[in-house]
């Protein structure tokens, strides 16, 4: 009876066995693959406030402690990668000596007994002398680039030991060393030094939003930092000598050994309007301020200076200067004020309706838009609907000129966003100044269309708007309308004054709340069945009375009123729509852009990556190694020659169908070789 024995290995040896085993390697590959998925599911490196919003405070903390917001730099992930390096290194250490030996050995000492045990073997009878056979087989193998060694056997015969494809073993060493090299190269370029410094308390990330020169030394990385990857945004005509590195929910400041200045940023376009190239003309100055180099960087064409690569990463507005007309929308005056602004800056605004802050957010020198259809016909139902985006759902892309966006923040801190075009836009043959408004950033802009008057300016509309807010002019216009409608005869005096009164009342309602107020008035005063009919009449009267109002206002201003006709009709209709929309517009002013001085900014990424060449070398080794391992097949052949008989045996590291085929081919050839 035999007792099962279990060899107990010392723990170190057992660990070595485990780490260098293929099973461990396979498990590790799987674990890394799964761990990598996490970082693609959860968007990495977002502001922490976004994560809190997404997960709630409890899970936010759990995920933060697990390092899920920056998985690939989390300690546990680096530990897994370290395991990969250790496991692969041990594997190389363990197998390489045997591999090298295999590569060099011809196994010419194979015994007859061991050859007899081969699966792939064949025996032949031959009358030829051993020396002739040997010569033939050697020539045969050499012609096929097999390397061989012949040994005299004890029985007077010979053994030819041949091999081919030994490089496959070299492939193993190459491919596995490559993995170690790539990981080490990556480690050099990772932020491992900062991690260590952070752990030791030598460095810490800065969380405050403060000017760069106030960031304390503990959050700054010196020029001797061997590897970094940071970003900086530079407006045209400005420069920077630091970059910012985002870490967690804060940042670090990396000092640069030079000053980077942006002279000009420009965008080229295809004929179709899509962007074709983003180029930055940059200059590099020494710390002392001496110009070292002028260059242009663009996407795919970085500049490498002093071991630091400068990439074109993004672009934006660098503080364009805007000159604006301020139209007071709810004051009975028809002349604008003036204002200047700078993108990313803000301007205080005092109006009759309180204090506001105008925060300029963007400026675009051109907008390529698909021009769509005009507004839907006006009925009672859509009286209170602001016009949609004129540029949606249409066809025919065209440049509609510059636009700027701003937030208007009231004293309570509430803000709405506005987007105004500088140039008038033509819709259905008529021209408008467009101003978009939205109350939340995720909404589309909805547009007010201020119609251009007979002299292609806003003056007529603004005069009419002011007139609506002027009770005297309204009353006069109502009288004027009644007189035109009913003629000047004395018989009509009573009716005329009634009509004038009701018209004045209607103008008054409209002036205080637009179509919405008028709609409510109709709904309150007119029986339901007659509301649609009444609305039609009211609209007609309102249009005609408004034309009278325009005439009165123009005459008062000493301007020739537009003659009655379709053009004047459309102008009045459009004016009424725009005026009505002002009650939803949510701003006491309309800002009209008159001049601009565009200043762009360019976002650069600067990197120093000394590990890159190590990684590339590793990559080259990896490709060569894998190709050798997978495409070169190692085979061995033994030809045992005895007087009267020949034994051919073959073996391969990987028994594939190719090998079977090859064995068949060689054994068929051998049959010919052993004959006379």
């Amino acid at each position: 009876m035999s007792t099962p024995t279990r060899t107990i290995q010392p723990p170190g040896k057992a660990l070595y066995e485990l780490l260098s085993s293929m099973r461990f390697a396979v498990s590790l590959l799987t674990v890394i693959a799964i761990a990598s998925i996490i970082g693609t599911v959860l968007k990495q490196g977002q502001p922490y406030s976004d994560y809190v919003f997404q997960f709630g405070t409890f899970w936010f903390d759990v995920f933060r402690i697990l390092g899920l917001y920056d998985v690939y730099h989390a300690g546990w992930f680096l530990v897994i990668l370290a395991f990969l390096v250790v496991s692969t290194s041990l594997c190389i250490y363990r197998n390489s000596p045997a591999m090298v030996k295999e590569m060099r050995s011809f196994r010419e000492h194979a015994t007859d007994k061991s050859l007899a045990a081969f699966h792939h073997k064949r025996e032949y009878a031959s009358d030829l002398p051993v020396a002739v056979l040997a010569q033939r087989f050697e020539a045969y193998l050499r012609a096929r680039r097999w390397r061989l060694r012949t040994r005299a056997a004890e029985d007077g015969g010979l053994l030819i030991a041949a091999k081919s494809g030994s490089l496959s073993r070299l492939g193993y060493i190459f491919a596995h060393s490559a993995i170690v090299l790539i990981c080490l190269g990556g480690l050099i370029d990772g932020n491992i030094i900062f991690k260590a410094q952070q752990l030791l308390g030598i460095k810490k990330i800065e969380m405050r939003d403060i000017p760069e020169n106030q960031v304390p030394a503990i959050s700054r990385l010196s020029m001797s930092n061997p590897s970094f990857r940071g970003n900086v945004t530079i407006p045209e005509g400005s420069s920077a000598n630091v970059v910012f590195i985002n870490v967690g929910d804060g940042y670090l400041v990396q000092d640069l050994p030079f000053t980077l200045a942006l002279r000009r940023f420009h965008i080229e376009h295809y004929p179709t309007g899509q962007p074709k190239a983003f180029d930055s003309d940059i200059s590099i100055y020494s710390p002392a301020g001496k110009l070292i180099k002028n260059a242009t960087v663009s996407v795919n064409h970085p500049l490498i200076y002093d071991g630091i690569a400068i990439y074109q990463a993004s672009f934006g507005d660098g503080g364009s200067k805007l000159a604006l007309k301020v139209w007071d929308l709810f004051a009975p005056k028809d002349q604008p004020g003036n204002m200047t602004g700078v993108v990313h800056g803000h301007t205080e605004l005092n109006t009759d309706m309180g204090k506001y802050r105008v925060e300029f957010t963007t400026f675009r020198p051109f907008n390529v838009e698909a021009m769509g259809k005009g507004p839907p016909p006006l009925t009672l139902k859509n009286m209170r609907v602001l016009g949609g985006n004129p540029t949606q759902g249409g066809e025919g892309m065209q440049n509609v000129g510059p636009s700027f966006e701003y937030k208007l923040r009231d004293a309570q801190g509430q803000a709405r966003e506005y987007s105004n075009f500088m140039l008038p836009i033509q819709i259905e043959g008529r021209w408008y100044m467009m101003s978009g408004m939205r109350t939340a950033p995720n909404q589309p802009f909805r547009y007010v269309r201020f119609p251009l008057g007979p002299n292609d300016t806003l003056a007529s509309f603004m005069r009419l708007r002011a007139a609506f807010l002027n009770p005297q002019l309204r009353t006069e216009a109502a009288r004027r309308f009644a007189a035109t409608a009913l003629g000047g005869g004395a018989a009509n005096a009573d009716m005329r004054s009634k009509l004038a009164d009701s018209t004045a009342k209607m103008l008054d309602i409209f002036s205080q709340g637009g179509f919405q107020a008028l709609g409510q008035f109709i709904q309150a005063k007119v029986p339901k069945a007659q509301q649609d009919k009444a609305a039609e009449t009211y609209l007609k009267v309102l249009e005609l009375a408004s034309y009278s109002l325009l005439q009165s206002a123009d005459e008062q201003a000493g301007v020739q009123p537009p003659p009655p006709g379709p053009a004047a009709g459309w102008f009045v209709r459009d004016s009424l729509n725009a005026y009505s929309d002002l009650f939803i517009y949510g701003a006491p002013v309309y800002l009209q852009l008159t001049h601009y001085d565009q200043v762009q900014s360019s976002g650069f990424q600067l990197t120093r990556a000394p590990g890159k060449n190590v990684v590339y070398l590793g990559s080259l080794l990896l490709v060569i190694g894998i190709a050798l391992m997978l495409f070169v097949r190692e085979r061995r052949m033994w030809v045992r020659l005895r007087p009267g008989s020949v034994l051919l045996a073959m073996s391969a590291a990987k028994k594939t169908i190719d090998f079977e085929r090859e064995f068949a081919e060689h054994s068929a050839s051998a049959e010919k070789l052993v004959k006379d």
């Binding site: 890394i32 693959a33 074709k276 990684v615 590339y616």
Partner: protein, 379 residues
């Protein structure tokens, strides 16, 4: 004794006069293109052009049927180009262009032939009809001819839109799906010839037909066939090598996965009498994954080098990069598994099928569900 057996067999002796003619034609073509367009090419693009001639010559020597295919593509493409007279509008005015070999027509023919080929293979497999199987092979070859002609003509058409718009047609989802169909079909055809078995075509072409279905939907529902100019990030010679290398990888992995499916059917006894032996399928699976793995490795490295030039770092753990790594790790694990005989045939086949899901996610899923820098194909 046969003296030939002891004579050396260097590569050059195995090359026939036809092979030399083929190489000479390639060299002439490359030389002509070089002399015509050298001023418009960067140094790297010149290297790509010069490198293309020996690469394709070697491919034609290595796998003989490539030679007539490439000759056919050249003849049809040049014919189409000659019909254009430099005027894109002739696409709808000339019979041959409108119905046969304008890029869109040729690609539609490719789709048609691939679907017919799939049907033929299935008829041949189920009806044990050698004729139908042979028809499948010929239809697939014809589809590949039309598809490559379509891409070549599309390349030319892009320059007719505007010289600044012109680019190699492997830049968006529509174009790479065509490339995927072609590469996968070619890799399959190679193994079909190498192992002298046609039955697997029924299964492998299913994945190609699925891609054809996508192309048709993308064309008719989304009008995605329009040639779009390149965004700045894609304007690089890297695209000419990164994308094809990647799709050789994807194509090979797809062939391996479908072979895995076939293997699983046969190992369960379904259609087993009609299908090749399990060892043959296992071998094809291994070969395809090997080829795919080498090319995918190259493609990922090229991608990293391109990223180092365009995005500022060779590895940023961008979703596309990360998923490329996951695909790579998956097949690395597969190759290790096979080597240690830890698991047996069916498990490896299952793993290869699962690998296709991972690969598909890396190819499509990342674009659809994850954001990142590598967002060049939107659905």
């Amino acid at each position: 004794m046969d003296l030939v057996l002891t004579q050396p067999q260097p590569l050059l002796k195995r090359i026939s006069w036809l092979d030399w003619l083929f190489a000479a034609a390639l060299a002439l073509g490359a030389g002509y293109a070089y002399s015509q367009y050298v001023d418009h090419l960067s140094y790297y693009e010149r290297a790509v052009l010069i490198g293309a001639a020996p690469t394709f010559a070697w491919l034609g020597w290595f796998w003989k049927p490539i030679k007539p295919l490439m000759a056919g593509i050249a003849v049809l493409s040049l014919f189409a180009i000659s019909l254009y007279h430099g005027n894109l509008a002739r696409m709808d005015q000339t019979f041959f262009l409108q119905y046969l070999i304008s890029s869109q027509a040729a690609i539609m023919w490719m789709c048609t032939f691939l679907v017919l080929a799939t049907v033929s293979y299935w008829v041949g497999l189920l009806g044990r009809s050698e004729f139908a199987l042979q028809a499948g092979t010929w239809l697939t070859w014809t589809a590949v001819l039309m598809g490559f002609t379509g891409l070549m003509v599309r390349w030319y058409e892009s320059y007719l839109i505007s010289p600044s718009v012109g680019h190699i047609p492997i830049s968006n989802l529509y174009e790479v799906f065509v490339l995927f169909c072609l590469v996968t079909s070619l890799i399959y055809l190679y193994y079909e010839g190498r192992y002298a078995t046609r039955q697997m075509g029924a299964f492998v072409l299913l994945v190609v037909t699925a891609a054809v279905g996508f192309i048709l939907w993308y064309t008719f529902d989304r009008q995605a066939e329009d040639i779009q100019p390149l965004v700045p990030a894609l304007q690089s010679w890297w695209m000419k090598i990164h994308v094809p290398a990647n799709f050789i990888g994807y194509g090979a992995f797809s062939v391996a996965a479908m072979t895995g499916v076939t293997y699983l059917f046969a190992s369960k006894g379904i259609l087993a009498s009609r299908l090749p032996k399990l060892e043959v399928m296992e071998d094809i699976m291994y070969k395809a994954i090997s080829v795919g793995f080498v090319f995918f490795t190259i493609a990922t490295i090229l991608g990293a080098m391109w990223a180092a030039q365009a995005w500022g770092g060779y590895w940023s753990w961008d979703p596309k990069e990360t998923w490329a790594l996951i695909v790579w790790l998956n097949y690395a694990a597969w190759l290790h598994l096979r080597m240690i005989n830890w698991v047996r045939g069916p498990a490896l086949a299952w793993w290869a099928v699962g690998g296709l899901l991972v690969t598909t996610f890396a190819f499509l899923g990342v674009n659809m569900f994850l954001s990142g820098l590598h967002s060049y194909g939107h659905l």
